[in-house]
Symmetry: C2
């Protein structure tokens, strides 16, 4: 495996795993006021499109990474929805 | 251009542009308390790695999209740093 591929895998691991501490903080604090609805929805639909893209290209890494991100992002979306009504 | 490529471009446009309304909200409210430092730093380093990956692969679209995301993410990071000290 070459350096470029390793850097791509490192990048994917970092951007996906970054949502784990964020989802934990949001869940524990039950606060998501500082998040923009536009950000959450555009980013969420974008991640869903990455999943479709990965599925069409039969690229398991893209599908797995983006499904994990979407699951963690859902914690933020649901917390904001529940606490802002 | 085939459907798969269009979906990939749509996904990239959505995930990058989602940070524009977020950066505007954060800048105007001067509040980023609900963001996790771990998220901001891991995601930021991850986006920087995507930039390196795009540069190594000579892929202008990856470099441009991730540079824009990084610039917008910086607004959130600097706001959190300035308002939490």
């Amino acid at each position: 495996m070459n350096l470029t591929l390793w850097i791509g895998l490192l990048a994917a691991t970092l951007t996906t795993s970054s949502f784990l501490p964020q989802a934990l903080k949001t869940w524990r604090s039950q606060r998501a006021d500082d998040f923009s609805w536009s950000y959450l929805l555009l980013f969420g639909i974008g991640i869903l499109m990455w999943d479709v893209y990965g599925w069409l290209r039969q690229d398991a890494a893209i599908v797995i990474a983006n499904s994990m991100t979407l699951a963690l992002l859902s914690v933020i979306i649901f917390t904001k929805y529940r606490t802002e009504r």
